[in-house]
C-alpha cells in the first residue's frame, strides 16, 4: 500500500489536523471530528449539517463555509459517523431556526442520523436523503439508490437558500426538489485501497473497468472491457437520460473525478459528456469539472446531471466560500 500516512489508524485524526491548519477560517472539534465555520450565521437562520464516512474529500468538510454547510461530521474512512458526533454537531450549529441533515442514502448513514435525530431534544431537525446513483435499481424492498455526486448540488443550493434566511421547511423542500431532479452514474478504472486493509477492495484486471460503481470501493453493476472516453461517456449519460426527463430545463452538470484521475482526462470526459447531453437536447447551463466526491485513490469518474429551474440556478450562482467551492465572494 502506497499512501502518505503514518498509521492506518491515525489517518482521519491527522488529516483533520492538517485541514484545521490549512483553513483557519474553519474550526475543528477534533474529539468529535466536526468541522464547522469559524464565523457563525446570524441567529434565526437555518443551519446545514452533513457528514458521512471519510475518504470522499473534499466532501463534506471541504464544503463547510459561507453559502454551503455549517458543519460536516467525519466518520472513519468509508464508515458513517456515530450518533453522538452528529448530536454534538447539530447542537453546535443550531441558530434557533432548526438544522437540515443532509444524508447520503447508505444504510449506515441513514441509521446513524436517525438515531441522532431520535435522541436530539430541543433542536428542530429536518432531513433530506440523497439517492441519485442510478446504477442501483430502485425499490422499496431494498436499501435503494446510493447518494453520490448530487450531494454537492444539494449542499450548494440548500446552503444558499439557508443563507438567504429561508425557513427550515422551505430549505428542506428545496433540497428534496434537487434530489428529485438530479441523477448520477459512475465508473472506475481501478479500485480504491482502504488504509486499514492495505489492499485494493476489488481486483480489476488491466483490460477491464467497472461501470456503475459507488464511492466506497464497492464493485459496480458490471465489468466490461476498457473502452474509449467516448464510449464511457455514453455508458454513463444514456442511463441517466433514460432514468429522468431532462428535456427543456437547463442542466447543471458535474464531471467528477474519483480521486486518482488527472484533470486533463476529466476535462476530456466533460467534453464528451456535454456533447452527448447537448445532442439529446439538454442544454448545459452550469458545470463543475474536478474532484468533488472521491473514493480515496480510485481512478475513474462520475457524471451528475441536475434539471435546474430558475430558482436552483440562482441559488447555484449565489456566493459561496468554502475550501473547495468558491465564487462570487
Amino acid at each position: 500500500m502506497k499512501k502518505l500516512i503514518n498509521s492506518p489508524d491515525d489517518v482521519l485524526t491527522e488529516s483533520l489536523l492538517g485541514l484545521a491548519a490549512a483553513h483557519p477560517e474553519l474550526r475543528v472539534d477534533h474529539a468529535n471530528r466536526i468541522v464547522y465555520r469559524g464565523e457563525t450565521k446570524p441567529h434565526g437562520t437555518v443551519a446545514l449539517l452533513s457528514g458521512g464516512g471519510s475518504g470522499h474529500e473534499p466532501l463534506h468538510a471541504g464544503f463547510v463555509g459561507f453559502g454551503m454547510l455549517d458543519a460536516a461530521v467525519c466518520g472513519e474512512v468509508f464508515t458513517s459517523p456515530a450518533p453522538d458526533q452528529l448530536i454534538e454537531a447539530t447542537r453546535r450549529i443550531d441558530n434557533g431556526a432548526g438544522v437540515l441533515h443532509v444524508i447520503k442514502n447508505y444504510t449506515g448513514d441513514v441509521m446513524n442520523f436517525e438515531m441522532a435525530a431520535e435522541l436530539l431534544g430541543g433542536t428542530e431537525v429536518d432531513t433530506v436523503v440523497i439517492a441519485d446513483d442510478i446504477a442501483v435499481e430502485d425499490s422499496t424492498f431494498t436499501a435503494g439508490r446510493r447518494g453520490t455526486g448530487l450531494t454537492v448540488f444539494v449542499e450548494k443550493i440548500a446552503g444558499a437558500a439557508a443563507e438567504q434566511g429561508r425557513e427550515l421547511t422551505e430549505v428542506a423542500g428545496l433540497a428534496r426538489r434537487v434530489c428529485a431532479s438530479g441523477r448520477s452514474m459512475g465508473m472506475a478504472l481501478t479500485s480504491s485501497t482502504l488504509p486499514a486493509s492495505g489492499r485494493p477492495t476489488f481486483d480489476l484486471p488491466d483490460a477491464e473497468m467497472e461501470i456503475g460503481v459507488g464511492i466506497h470501493g464497492e464493485p459496480g453493476r458490471r465489468r466490461v472491457p476498457l473502452a474509449s472516453a467516448r464510449e464511457i461517456a455514453r455508458m454513463l449519460v444514456e442511463p441517466i437520460l433514460a432514468d429522468h426527463e431532462f428535456g427543456g430545463s437547463p442542466a447543471i452538470v458535474m464531471l467528477n473525478g474519483m480521486g486518482a484521475t488527472p484533470l486533463i482526462e476529466l476535462y476530456l470526459m466533460f467534453g464528451e459528456v456535454r456533447g452527448l447531453l447537448e445532442k439529446a437536447g439538454v442544454s448545459v447551463a452550469r458545470s463543475l469539472v474536478g474532484n468533488y466526491v472521491t473514493s480515496l485513490d480510485m481512478a475513474g469518474c462520475s457524471v451528475t446531471v441536475l434539471a435546474a429551474d430558475d430558482e436552483m440556478l440562482g441559488l447555484w450562482d449565489a456566493p459561496v466560500s468554502t475550501p473547495s467551492l468558491r465564487w462570487g465572494i
Binding site: 464516512g53 466518520g75 472513519e76 474512512v77 468509508f78 464508515t79 458513517s80 459517523p81 456515530a82 450518533p83 453522538d84 458526533q85 447508505y106 444504510t107 449506515g108 441509521m111 446513524n112 436517525e114 438515531m115 446504477a135 442501483v136 435499481e137 425499490s139 424492498f141 431494498t142 436499501a143 446510493r146 482502504l194 486499514a196 486493509s197 489492499r199 477492495t201 476489488f202 459507488g214 466506497h216 470501493g217 464497492e218 464493485p219 453493476r221
Partner: protein, 208 residues
C-alpha cells in the same frame, strides 16, 4: 440453572477475541460485496467496548450491556454499529438491573435485541443480512430452553446462526451495501451474518 454475570463477561470477552481473530476474514467478505471495512469496524468497536467495560467495571447486566451498546454505536459507525448497538441496548433493557438471568430471561433479552435490529434496519428473512443468522439463532435458543439446558440451547443457537450465515451465500442481497450488486452478490456470504455467527458461537462457548 441461571446464567451468571461471569458467564456474560465471558461472552463479551470471547466475542471480542473471535472478532479480532476473524478481522481480516470479515473484511474480505465485506470487500467482495460491500466496502471492505466490516472486520475493521467491529474490531474497533470490540476494542472500545472491552476498554469501557474494563475501566468502568459495571456490576449489573443492564449497566454492562448499555455500556456495550452505547460504545458500539459510537465507535463502530457504518451499518453494523447502530444495528449491534441497538441489539445490546435492547438486550440491556430487557435483562434489567440484575446480575444473572434465567434461561427464559436470557431468551427474552435476545429477542428484545433481535427486535431492536428489526426496528433499526427493517431486515426481512432472505435479505442477506445479519438478520438471516440472528433470527434463526434467537428462535433456536427460545425453542431449546423449553426442553434442554441453557448450554445445549446456546449450542443449538450457535449452530442455527452458522447455518443461517452459510445460507446467505445463495441469496441476492436486498439490504445493505451488497444490495447495490444485485445478482453479483450471489455466491458470497454476508459479512454481518458471519459476525453474528461469531456472537452466538461465543455465547455457546461462554455457557458450555
Amino acid at each position: 440453572m441461571a446464567v451468571t454475570f461471569v458467564q456474560f463477561m465471558d461472552w463479551l470477552r470471547l466475542t471480542d477475541e473471535h472478532v479480532i481473530e476473524a478481522r481480516s476474514e470479515l473484511t474480505e467478505l465485506d470487500s467482495a460485496i460491500g466496502d471492505g471495512d466490516h472486520g475493521i469496524n467491529l474490531s474497533r468497536g470490540c476494542a472500545a467496548s472491552s476498554g469501557k467495560v474494563d475501566s468502568e467495571k459495571p456490576e449489573y447486566l443492564d449497566d454492562m450491556f448499555t455500556l456495550v451498546g452505547m460504545t458500539l454505536v459510537s465507535s463502530v459507525g457504518g451499518a453494523s454499529g447502530p444495528l449491534y448497538g441497538t441489539f445490546f441496548l435492547r438486550f440491556a433493557t430487557s435483562a434489567g438491573h440484575r446480575q444473572e438471568l434465567t434461561p427464559v430471561q436470557l431468551a427474552s433479552a435476545l429477542e428484545a435485541g433481535l427486535a431492536g435490529v428489526v426496528q433499526r434496519g427493517k431486515p426481512e428473512l432472505g435479505d442477506k443480512t445479519m438478520y438471516d443468522a440472528m433470527q434463526p439463532a434467537v428462535l433456536a435458543f427460545r425453542n431449546a430452553i423449553k426442553t434442554g439446558d441453557v448450554a445445549e440451547a446456546a449450542l443449538l443457537a450457535s449452530r442455527a446462526a452458522a447455518a443461517g450465515r452459510d445460507a446467505t451465500a445463495d441469496l441476492v442481497a436486498r439490504k445493505g451495501r451488497a444490495s447495490y450488486l444485485g445478482e453479483r452478490s450471489v455466491g458470497h456470504i454476508d459479512p454481518g451474518a458471519a459476525s453474528t455467527a461469531l456472537l452466538f458461537q461465543s455465547l455457546a462457548e461462554a455457557l458450555a
